[in-house]
């Protein structure tokens, strides 16, 4: 059996008392064993059946990762239903699109925020019932199709999951997933996603003793795969934080052994380290930096296998006084495997985490491949690749250097999206396969930039390099049909503030900070340094420090903080035009209907 | 045997006289409490230090006035030093911490004064220095002209009350009528505001500590005449505690009246209740009991400011 409810049942039979799910609620961690997990599912399945969920019914789960929503997945699937997860911060437009594309009939919303968004988006979709989990603030809502989750479960009779599971087939559809970048909906079968998960588990020998924290929405395909599905397939415990504000503390409390994170989380950690250390006393600051330098030197030697006994002792010392406590602060002490889901981290970041013993493993995959087609093996030391194709997966590069793959865990597009073509799927990314068989990803093929000279390159690889600085939050390369490459830089507010305070800069607010010559020099130095590693044609010639950060609600960054070029081009058109017309100073009318003055800096 | 009215009046007057002495010590407390909210526990050791300084100098042949002058100077320097090295760094601290700091100061001063001088008991005979008839020969003063009222009073007590009384008058004038007095009252009301309007808090504090030092010197000498210059002077301060608590920590008139009440009450209690209580030395605690009884009915003391708690 490879269905999700089936696997839950299997886990229950194998180790009924092991912890399946742990969540922090009202101040303490509460846990469900696999037996209780199954009980919950059977109750919920009864409830959903009473709302006429059956074979093929699409149920949207709309909210943060909270137990009731997590149980809903298996409960609905045990009835043959299909789950479409939606990001809790999804805007009304996105919500409408997803609900329409998936033909969802039932919406399970976390609380008032989601219900309200739904009411904005409601027009012409097929939702029959809206079930809310948290009734806070909803008392006066008179909408006829609005139901309280608790009331439905109270009335319903539990269902025997064992019987239901037998009716399911492995290739039944389990999920509809929305791909934010492709703007397409995929359907994923039980078999596809659980197989994919099994491969990851086998490759890294994950056991039921492991634990993982799920702090992002399950609407992110890789998160669904790495946390939810993997916990069910392997039997390890899935931990849910108390609230968005307490994630870091909760992560520390749980001390997971497995970490899954999109690259922005690692970036956040790096910036956060920098922010904190910049605010430290001079002595601590200097010691930290010198330890950091020594650590990286020793790590380099280690990689080359040249570290001496002294190095080992010295590293142990550095770890003891600086980095082991630092890991503790971020809750990384017990991490055995850390999976990065989207592309690669910059070498500096990658090496740093490896040096302190958080062995990051890049992985690659997108919605069309259920989240993962390749994972770096454990103890991998190369920051540039994303590992070899997993078992049952083949990867090749076509003449346009696009990455094509074949896999036995395939998601099929519902309408639109990339098409299966003679068995090979176009991943939508460009890259190459090295002699070692490792895949290198350069970026999305649709994002490729062609300079006037005809030179074509992927902006993401350069952006990645730029954002290795803790002072850069995000960046966007521009240069289509231009003579040279330019970049828009968003500086990280907290780390840069902290840095500016140490430097005693005089400024008022973020916008003014971005206009400081010192900040410009900081970024300039970083880019100049980075230019040395780039081929001549791709060297960055101009940059602009943006006057504000990119806004998720405006769609300028994705839910995983990746820049969304089209929206930015639309929103910040003035900037791009100015940079391309080679102005030095210009003004921008921004979306907040205010005017800002910006400078283009040359390198 | 009938009731001895004359004896009673003598006791009363004796009580009043010793009460004046209490008042003097109490005023030192009140000054510091008013200006900085500190319950200065080092008052006793200041007394000891001041009188010890004086006595050691006279023992070494320095004449009375010079010794008095030098001792006063030393107390002023001491006061300024306390402001600089203790008060200033501790400004705006918790009251209890400030109180404990003065206990620390007391410990220091106790060690210091006995270290640079010595721990012996010194007698102090004022009449050795002051050529006053009053103090000279007869130890008692007799009201002779009213034959039926033969009241005996120690001359020294009368002298002491006069000294104490005039000191109090001077102080009262200083605080009510001078600019420094006004600033001191402002400081005692609200430190922060006083600083904000440009009153140099530290100068005010230094003045207060210096004045307190001088009061300690005077009080120390007057007390020492009765109980000799020694460790017992510190205990004199414990006696002053009920006085200021009855009078109210923030009131100088309170300190005076409180002193008189305690002085009289204590003597009366000792003489008329002592035996009834079946033991001697009830004056050890009787003053405290009086204060306690008093406070239960008026928690802020006789003249203490009633704090209206704003909620």
């Amino acid at each position: 059996m490879a269905t999700i409810p089936g696997l839950v049942l299997a886990q229950k039979n194998e180790h009924p008392n092991a912890i399946s799910l742990r969540y922090k609620h009202l101040g303490i961690w509460r846990a469900y064993s696999w037996t209780e997990y199954l009980d919950e599912i059977s109750v919920l399945a009864g409830a959903y059946k009473s709302r006429s969920v059956g074979k093929g019914t699409v149920v949207a789960i709309y909210g943060n990762s909270i137990p009731k929503l997590i149980f809903t997945i298996a409960a609905v699937q045990s009835l043959g239903g299909i789950i479409v997860p939606i990001h809790p911060e999804a805007t009304a437009t996105e919500l409408k699109k997803i609900l329409n594309d998936s033909n969802a009939e039932i919406l399970v919303a976390e609380d008032q925020q989601q219900v309200d968004t739904f009411h904005v988006a409601e027009a012409d979709c097929k939702i029959k019932d809206v079930i809310y989990l948290n009734g806070r603030g909803l008392k006066d809502y008179k909408n006829a199709n609005l139901y309280s989750f608790d009331e439905i479960t109270k009335k319903a009779k539990p269902i025997n999951i064992e019987l239901e599971v037998k009716k399911l087939k492995d290739n039944d559809l389990a999920f509809y997933m929305y791909d934010e970048f492709e703007d397409a909906m995929y359907s994923i079968s039980h078999e596809a996603i659980t197989n994919n998960s099994k491969k990851i588990i086998k490759l890294n020998s994950l056991t039921p003793k492991d634990s993982i924290v799920s702090y992002l929405s399950l609407s992110i395909p890789t998160n669904l795969l790495f946390t939810y599905v993997t916990s069910i397939v392997s039997g390890m415990s899935l931990n849910l934080p108390e609230s968005n504000q307490t994630i870091e503390k909760d992560l520390q409390e749980i001390g997971p052994t497995i970490l899954y994170a999109p690259s922005f989380v690692f970036k956040h950690i790096i910036s956060s380290i920098s922010y904190r250390i910049e605010a430290a006393t001079q002595a601590n600051y200097e010691r930290y930096n010198s330890h950091y330098d020594s650590l990286m030197k020793i790590y380099e030697k280690e990689v080359q296998g040249k570290s001496s006994l002294f190095d080992k002792i010295y590293k142990a010392y550095i770890m003891l006084v600086t980095f082991a406590p630092a890991k503790n602060v971020f809750g990384l002490t017990k991490i055995k495997h850390a999976f990065v889901s989207d592309g690669v981290l910059s070498k500096v970041t990658f090496d740093f985490f490896h040096a302190i013993g958080v062995e990051i493993q890049h992985s690659f995959g997108q919605t069309s491949s259920c989240g993962c087609i390749s994972v770096q093996p454990d103890h991998s030391v190369s920051a540039e690749n994303v590992g070899r194709a997993m078992e049952g997966t083949e990867i090749k590069i076509n003449d346009k250097s696009e990455v094509l793959f074949k896999t036995d865990c395939l998601a099929t597009p519902l309408n639109g999206g990339s098409n299966a073509d003679s068995g090979w799927i176009n991943s939508g990314y460009v890259g190459k396969v090295k002699d070692s068989g490792n895949l290198m990803i350069r970026g999305r093929s649709e994002d490729l930039i062609r300079l006037k000279s005809g030179k074509e390159f992927s902006p993401e690889s350069i952006e990645n390099l730029i954002s290795c600085s803790p002072f850069v939050r995000s960046s966007m390369i521009i240069g289509t049909n231009q003579d040279s490459v330019s970049v828009l830089v968003v500086v990280d507010p907290s780390a840069t503030n902290s840095w500016a305070d140490r430097k005693n800069l005089r400024y008022t607010g973020y916008t003014e900070l971005t206009r400081k010559t010192e900040v410009r020099d900081l970024i300039k130095e970083h880019i100049t340094c980075l230019n040395e590693t780039l081929e001549d044609a791709l060297k960055i010639k101009r940059f602009v420090v943006l006057h504000r950060t990119l806004i998720m609600a405006e769609g300028e960054v994705s839910k995983t903080m990746e820049v969304k070029r089209n929206t930015i081009i639309a929103n910040l058109n003035d900037v791009i035009v100015a940079v391309e017309s080679n102005k030095e100073k210009f003004t921008v009318n921004d979306i907040d209907s205010l005017t800002y003055e910006l400078n283009v800096h040359k390198i | 045997m009938g009731f001895d009215w004359v004896y009673l009046i003598e006791v009363l007057l004796g009580g009043l006289m010793s009460g004046v002495m209490y008042s003097l010590v109490a005023i030192g407390f009140v000054l510091i409490y008013k200006s900085s909210g500190i319950f200065n526990f080092a008052q006793g050791t200041m007394l000891l230090f001041a009188s010890l300084t004086f006595v050691k100098m006279t023992e070494n042949g320095i004449d009375f006035w010079t010794a008095l002058f030098i001792a006063a100077g030393v107390m002023v320097i001491f006061g300024v030093a306390i402001e600089r090295y203790m008060m200033r760094p501790l400004a705006n601290q918790d009251l209890l911490a400030l109180f404990m700091a003065t206990v620390g100061l007391a410990t220091f001063q106790e060690g210091f004064s006995q270290f640079i001088w010595d721990s012996d008991i010194h007698g102090l005979q004022m009449n050795k220095f002051l050529d006053l008839q009053l103090l000279d020969s007869a130890p008692i003063f007799v009201v002779e002209h009213i034959p039926w009222l033969d009241i005996l009073l120690p001359k020294f007590d009368i002298f002491a009350s006069l000294v104490a009384g005039s000191l109090i008058v001077v102080l009262a004038f200083f605080f009510q009528k001078t600019k420094t007095g006004l600033s001191l009252r402002a400081v005692s009301d609200d430190h922060m505001a006083a600083m904000a309007v440009g009153i140099p808090l530290q100068t005010v504090w230094a003045i207060v500590w210096a004045v307190t030092g001088i009061i300690a010197l005077v009080a120390g000498l007057l007390w020492a005449e009765r109980v000799s210059v020694s460790f017992t002077l510190i205990e004199a301060v414990m006696k002053a505690l009920p006085v200021i608590l009855i009078g109210g920590l923030t009131s100088i008139p309170g300190a005076i009246i409180g002193g008189l009440v305690i002085g009289v009450g204590e003597k009366l209690g000792e003489i008329y209740l002592g035996d009834a209580m079946g033991g001697q030395g009830i004056e050890l605690w009787f003053a405290y009991f009086m204060a306690l009884m008093f406070l239960v009915f008026r928690p802020q003391g006789m003249f203490g400011e009633k704090f209206i708690e704003r909620v």
Binding site: L26, G27, G137, K139, D140, S243, Q245 | K306, V311
Partner: protein, 255 residues
């Protein structure tokens, strides 16, 4: 719904200074009643009379059907009154959690011996109190600061914690003394939201002193205007806005 609270002809003086002169007011069960007026108008004194911190010279307070002249603050708490203070009166030496826990003290039946030995009832009650407190923490969305000493919190959050401490005692009437003073707009919005929600969901009667006319007009069902110890207006927000006496004495130009 009837009157939950009725203040009749109350006069309060401090050493000759009249803080309140002959004021009467009614608070209906389940309403949000706002008391407005300039500083020194006797608003806080009114609250203090209601829950027994001050004893009025003349007048009575009828609460929950019982008329009385004096009540101790403790009796008031037992009878279901909870309040917050104008100048935050949190226990500065304790954490957020401990502060809110003090609001549960009336529910604790175990004695200090049991608590010292950490046995029996003491444990179950501690657990129960904590649960009640955690529900409030979750309601006020202050999970991330539950172990922080209150002295370290920014002002707005301290006010929120104080509201929590009042709410956790499961009161019948909530007396709020300037719950939103010193807050920025966002914090005011939070606070209004909590007050309204508690009022709507649990029907908790609320008496609130507030300066911000915007807030008062938006969230109050009933407004009482005091001016230097006297009542000059009493009615719905709309009526108050139109009341000439109120405009003259308090609002100045009409908004």
């Amino acid at each position: 719904m009837g009157d939950l609270l009725k203040v009749e002809n109350v006069t309060l003086q401090f050493g000759g200074v009249k803080a309140i002169t002959d004021i009467s007011l009614n608070v209906k069960e389940g309403e949000v009643c706002a008391v407005i007026g300039p500083n020194g108008a006797g608003k806080s004194s009114m609250l203090n009379v209601i829950n027994g911190v001050y004893v009025p010279q003349i007048g009575t307070v009828t609460y929950d059907g019982v008329t009385r002249k004096t009540i101790s603050p403790r009796e008031a708490a037992i009878s279901g009154m909870a309040r917050t203070f104008q100048n935050i009166a949190l226990f500065q030496g304790m954490s957020v959690l401990e502060n809110i826990m003090t609001g549960r003290n009336l529910f604790v039946k175990s004695n200090w011996m049991e608590q010292g030995l950490n046995i029996g009832r003491a444990r179950t009650e501690e657990r129960a109190s904590r649960l009640a407190v955690e529900k409030i923490i979750s309601f006020l969305q202050i999970e991330s600061i539950r172990k922080t000493p209150v002295a370290k919190l920014p002002y707005g959050l301290q006010k929120r914690v104080e509201l929590g401490r009042a709410l956790v005692s499961e009161p019948k009437i909530l007396l709020l003394d300037e719950p939103m003073s010193g807050m920025n707009l966002e914090e005011k919005a939070d606070m209004s939201c909590f007050i309204l929600e508690i009022n709507k969901e649990q029907g908790l009667t609320t008496v609130m002193i507030e300066h911000d006319m915007g807030v008062v007009m938006d969230i109050a069902d009933h407004v009482i205007v005091l001016d230097y110890g006297k009542k000059i207006g009493d009615g719905t927000p709309k009526e108050i806005m139109a009341n000439q006496d109120v405009i003259d004495a308090y609002l100045g130009v009409s908004h």
